[in-house]
């Protein structure tokens, strides 16, 4: 039984308007075999944008780790790695 990867895409207004909206098209850019075994949801603001970290919006939480400056390419990479880490 494979373990699911948990993806939470921030859909707070700030993330959404700075490119976060595009991440909702995850079916287009992540491997269908992988996305099938992921739990994806749009969630409210993690408040990551309000901390003074180096990374900016949009933010995504993958298996409880928050990543900033997210792009479709970066999301694909991290999700794919997380998937194989859990399903060796």
């Amino acid at each position: 039984m494979s373990k699911k990867v948990n993806i939470k895409i921030c859909v707070g207004t700030s993330c959404f308007v700075q490119g976060g909206a595009d991440l909702l098209l995850y079916n287009d850019f992540i491997d269908p075999e992988i996305i099938e075994k992921c739990e994806v949801e749009g969630t409210s603001c993690f408040n990551a944008c309000k901390s003074s970290g180096k990374e900016g919006a949009p933010f995504v939480m993958i298996n409880d780790i928050i990543y900033g400056d997210m792009t479709p390419v970066k999301l694909k990479k991290i999700v794919t790695e997380a998937f194989y880490a859990r399903n060796k």
């Binding site: 207004t13 308007v17 595009d22």
Partner: protein, 487 residues
């Protein structure tokens, strides 16, 4: 046109949100001259020559956001705070909608085809054989183009087996469907306002951000601050622009200070009913063709470039106009602000007497960001009884208007409809003779933005994302993006 997500659109949103944050804090007059320095700090890695030019650009973007006509009023010595005081004191002319920042313009060399080093100087030489003006010649072991003879038809590029021919366009010029972009003596961009239809395609195409819209948000902000009742009328395309549903969007607008929110889909229903009746009358009296009239950039196009279409264009008013009438009937003293994806709507609004302000989704989103309003977190506001006009929310999507009109006809079998989805030079050429060529049908829906209003210049997300959020299935997405269909 540029992909909607790019450094320029992100920067624009940041400028808008920063200015609005100061405005809402009541500190804008004091902050405004510092904002270019806040956004472009000392350590910024510049994309232009240096941080000083970047700051100067931010200054121009703030001016455009204040609504200043940069071509008319380009006083470099005047501080932003003084501009801000002046716009508060006097009402600015809302038109033209677009303005240019000549220092941002890269003065792109004119549209040309060039042959790269990938040319193998082959034996077949299809470029040579297919060039209609004999502009190709061979020298130094490769093909060359005589730019004086070249008519930029692109034939050579099509036929080269090595893809060695590049087309270098001038993005603003090639995106303009009506040839309204020209270059001044120094090669910098200028808009010919006699020709411009305010579609906004140039501003979405320039990779330097040299063509910008003058925002009309400040008069709206002042309205919201005043004692007047202000009603927001929201374009059907708003569904899918923000996370959350329409009820939550309504709640968010009320948090911004709007007293009431009315869907323009309600007016779209009136447009549909009237247009259905008009179409029936026109067909019965023998008219060969009627076009829709809901797209304001198309209305401008007809007015400025296509006199032959004046008799063909439906006389029915737009959904915005009917919605404003509905609001005025109920609350005659309300100020009415249209919130939509469209720049040309501002031209339409100046002709109507009922609209007091027009802002875009983009500007609305910046207000939400500045006030830290998360649409999806809010408790839904009641939208009222939407049953009779719910289908008219589809006006935002290519083909939607036709569907709504046909549904409201007594006998829709007399109609053969088709659509023109997106405007470019070629389409304009076809429209010039549309009353003289064999007709594809008797009802044509014309949308200047490809895909419909969900792809307007004031939108925040790609049409595909918007359609997904509107619960569109993939089939609907494919249908909306089709160039032309018959039904």
């Amino acid at each position: 046109m540029l992909e909607i997500n790019n450094q320029f659109t992100f920067l624009k949103s940041r400028v808008y949100a920063t200015v609005l944050k100061s405005y809402f804090n009541g500190t804008l007059e004091n902050d405004i001259d510092k904002i270019p320095f806040w956004i472009i700090g000392k350590d910024t890695d510049p994309s232009r020559c240096c941080i000083y030019k970047e700051r100067a650009m931010i200054r121009y973007r703030i001016l455009a956001f204040l609504g200043v006509n940069l071509e008319k009023d380009d006083d470099e010595i005047k501080p932003l705070s003084q501009f801000y005081r002046e716009i508060q004191a006097s009402k600015m002319k809302p038109l033209p909608v677009l303005t240019t920042i000549s220092t941002a313009c890269s003065a792109c060399p004119k549209d040309q085809y060039i042959i790269s080093d990938a040319c193998r100087s082959c034996y077949a030489r299809p470029c040579l054989a297919n060039c209609p003006t004999n502009a190709i010649y061979f020298k130094n072991g490769k093909a060359n183009i005589d730019q004086d003879k070249c008519i930029r038809c692109g034939k050579c590029q099509e036929v080269c087996p090595f893809n060695s021919i590049l087309h270098i366009p001038v993005p603003c010029e090639s995106s303009c469907p009506v040839d309204a972009i020209k270059k001044n003596a120094n090669g910098f961009v200028e808009i010919d306002y006699k020709k411009c239809i305010s579609c906004g395609k140039c501003s979405r195409s320039c990779p330097f951000g040299a063509i910008v819209e003058r925002s009309a948000i400040f008069p709206v902000l002042e309205m919201l601050k005043s004692e007047d009742r202000v009603t927001a009328i929201i374009a059907p395309a708003i569904d899918g622009q923000f996370p959350g549903n329409l009820g939550q969007t309504k709640a968010a607008l009320k948090l911004l200070g709007f007293d009431d929110v009315v869907e323009v889909s309600e007016g779209a229903q009136i447009t549909s009913i009237k247009e259905a009746k008009e179409l029936e009358e026109r067909i019965n009296r023998g008219d060969k063709l009627m076009s829709t009239s809901c797209c304001p950039a198309y209305v401008e196009l007809v007015e400025k470039h296509l006199p032959n279409l004046k008799a063909i264009k439906s006389d029915t008013l737009s959904p915005m106009a009917y919605t404003a009438q509905l609001v005025k009937e109920k609350n005659p003293n309300d100020k009415i602000v249209f919130i939509g994806p469209c720049l040309a709507k501002r031209v339409e609004a100046t002709k109507l007497k009922t609209i007091d302000g027009v802002i875009t989704f983009n500007e609305l989103a910046s207000m939400f960001v500045a006030k830290e309003i998360d649409v999806k977190e809010l408790v839904e506001d009641d939208l009222g009884n939407t049953g009779c006009f719910e289908d008219c929310r589809e006006f935002a999507i290519s083909e939607g208007a036709t569907t709504c009109v046909l549904k409201r006809m007594e006998d829709s079998s007399i109609v053969k409809g088709y659509k023109i989805n997106g405007l470019d030079r070629k389409v304009v050429k076809t429209l010039k003779v549309i009353d003289r060529i064999p007709s594809k049908g008797n009802f044509v829906e014309i949308m200047v933005c490809e895909g419909g209003c969900i792809n307007g210049p004031g939108t925040i997300v790609k049409p595909k994302v918007a359609l997904k959020l509107r619960n569109g299935n993939t089939q609907a997405i494919a249908k909306a993006m089709k160039r032309e269909t018959f039904y």
